[in-house]
């Protein structure tokens, strides 16, 4: 297409389609760029290639049946999504969780965050052509995956949290496994920093690339590590603390430039903070119940169903009719690996959700994609894309 710019100069631009099934677009993203040689002059994005109708599907099941669907939002840190949803529903019930449940949730939350950030940094490096850091990051990730296997029975889609508790307590030797995973996480961080920090090729590809100002990022509704990379110290774990996050000793990591390098470095630094939190949480992990005792919220234990009538009825009603969430409307946001994962919930007081709207953190970040890549080179757009950590599962729902 031939265009004239504001100086009256005529340019012959080439429209270039990237994606949706390009390996570097991480799933199903598509954008069309008007190219002047190697430079992107303008870009528009298109999403929806992984739209499965999450919000329509959840209206057909019970409240508990939403939990496995939330796994499929951000599949790199499935447990975090479970917990975010259960937390929203639990606040509607107005129940307080047992201490052990809260501590366990903090531990699995932070381990998921470590996992998610490792995937992001590793994939970003892979997209730029570096395969070594990928292996460094995936070793500790594999250890955490093995913990998930033992803890939940699944590697990827765990469905670990339940409304009013957890699907099961930690297994024997959980603490040792977590400590071992933390040790190898710290070792991998050292290796990754050795690869990243003074790597000329990496710095040339990421420093000053995909810059965004804090005001613009806020206007686009950015949250999580991407917003913090712009220098805004906003973290729901500090601002609206839940699960006693405020009592742990940790720092909110912020960047300075808001460029691609900052977004990756903030993630690596956040892994360090998460390691700190998990180590403190392990010391607090005292024996006790993990579920609240209320058959109207948390289904009674399986063995009670065989022992007395009340347990049997509670189990039957909970499974067939679903828990009855009080009537009303509520928005609840939790700090997940990518930012604020929010649920706008409308309940009509029955056992089925009336309406659940997910607020995916990726959507706002991908909506600003054209601002980040315009004026840069085509190859830079791949570095920008992987630094944002767009997960198509939660982007398209």
């Amino acid at each position: 297409m031939i265009v004239r710019d504001s100086n009256g100069e005529t340019l012959d631009l080439m429209p270039l389609n990237v994606g949706p099934s390009h390996p570097a677009t991480h799933g199903c993203l598509r954008f069309m760029a008007a190219m002047d040689g190697e430079t992107i002059v303008a870009s528009v994005e298109e999403i929806g290639y992984l739209h499965r109708g999450f919000e329509k599907m959840v209206e057909r099941g019970t409240w508990q049946q939403v939990v496995p669907y939330t796994d499929r939002l951000n599949y790199c840190s499935a447990i975090m999504n479970n917990i975010a949803f259960c937390r929203a529903v639990e606040s509607m019930f107005g129940v307080e969780l047992p201490e052990r449940c809260k501590v366990l949730r903090v531990i699995v939350n932070e381990l998921s965050r470590i996992n998610d950030h490792f995937v992001c940094v590793a994939a970003a490096f892979q997209d730029l052509g570096g395969t070594t850091p990928f292996m460094y990051a995936f070793n500790p990730r594999e250890e955490i995956m093995c913990i998930w296997e033992k803890l939940t029975g699944a590697r990827l889609t765990n469905s670990y949290a339940r409304i009013g508790g957890l699907s099961r307590d930690a297994y024997d030797g959980f603490e040792q496994d977590v400590l071992a995973a933390l040790d190898s996480t710290e070792k991998a961080l050292k290796d990754l920093h050795a690869c990243l920090d003074r790597n000329r090729i990496f710095l040339d590809r990421t420093v000053g690339i995909g810059k965004i100002s804090a005001e613009k990022a806020i206007s686009y509704g950015w949250t999580g590590p991407c917003l913090r990379a712009c220098g805004v110290a906003a973290d729901l774990r500090k601002d609206e603390p839940y699960y006693d996050y405020e009592t742990y000793d940790w720092e909110v990591v912020v960047g300075t430039q808001g460029d691609c390098n900052d977004r990756l470095q903030v993630r690596l630094a956040e892994i360090e903070e998460s390691v700190k939190i998990v180590r403190q949480a392990l010391k607090r992990l005292a024996p006790g119940p993990v579920d609240i005792v209320d058959p109207r919220i948390r289904v009674p234990a399986h063995k009670l169903a065989y022992q007395d009538m009340e347990g049997l009825i509670g189990r039957f009603k909970s499974v067939y009719e679903g828990v009855r969430v009080p009537e009303g409307e509520f928005y609840s946001g939790s700090e997940c690996a990518n930012g604020e994962l929010g649920f706008t919930i409308v309940s009509d007081g029955s056992g089925h959700p009336y309406r659940i709207k997910v607020r995916p953190p990726c959507l706002t970040q991908f909506a600003a994609f054209h601002e980040l890549v315009e004026g840069g080179q085509l190859a830079d757009s791949m570095a920008v894309l992987s630094g944002l950590n767009i997960i198509a599962g939660e982007l398209d729902r």
Partner: protein, 196 residues
């Protein structure tokens, strides 16, 4: 902040359905003013639009009022922890709401999503298209009367060239000659697949 001021100033009322957070139901015609007020007022400074959710009350038991509602969630970074929701009611006869995409950049995509899923139009929106569903999709899937099992035949790709030209124009370029669109519909590769 006490949101009473809002209710007095703009004729809104506190939402009885919101039992766990603050929600104000505002008349549709004042929505833009209320949002601009919330964004700039130093006592709340709602600088981030968190979410826009459409709600269809068609099958809601004992529901009084209009069929649709849109819930806007805001939060403040200046005052951490301060949040508010606004709700506008939209009747089936007049599915129009003023856009707030001039105030918040991300409202653009959120409003496109609500338009896509509920068919509510946002007047003044610069680029009101479907966001998640396909360009050929008929109907609005999150309405309660849209059957969840319904299937539709979708054949073509979303054309992005018109949007790209629009974007170039907003960046200050003037299109001299458009590039040709590739008609994927005419190609024979679709024949022989599962088309009924």
């Amino acid at each position: 902040m006490d949101f009473k001021e809002l209710t007095e100033k703009f004729g809104g009322k506190l939402d009885a359905q919101a039992k766990w957070d603050d929600c104000v139901v505002v008349p549709r015609e004042y929505l833009h003013n209320v949002v601009a007020f919330l964004k700039d007022d130093p006592s709340c400074k709602m600088d981030m639009l968190v979410d826009i959710a459409g709600i269809d009350y068609l099958t809601y038991p004992n529901h009084e009022g209009e069929r649709f509602a849109i819930s806007y969630a805001f939060k403040s970074l200046k005052h951490p922890g301060l949040r508010v929701r606004l709700k506008v009611q939209v009747g089936e006869s007049d599915l129009k709401v003023p856009t707030i995409s001039d105030l918040y950049a991300n409202a653009n995509w959120y409003e496109r999503e609500v338009f896509d899923q509920f068919g509510i139009e946002f007047t003044g929106h610069p680029d009101l298209r479907r966001l998640l569903n396909h360009v050929e999709f008929v109907g609005h899937p999150l309405r309660k009367d849209y059957p969840a099992q319904k299937r539709q035949w979708l054949s073509t790709n979303d054309y992005l060239l018109p949007e790209l030209e629009k974007r170039l124009e907003t960046l200050g370029y003037w299109i001299v000659q458009r590039s040709k669109e590739v008609e994927t519909k005419d190609n024979e590769f679709l024949e022989g697949s599962v088309k009924e």
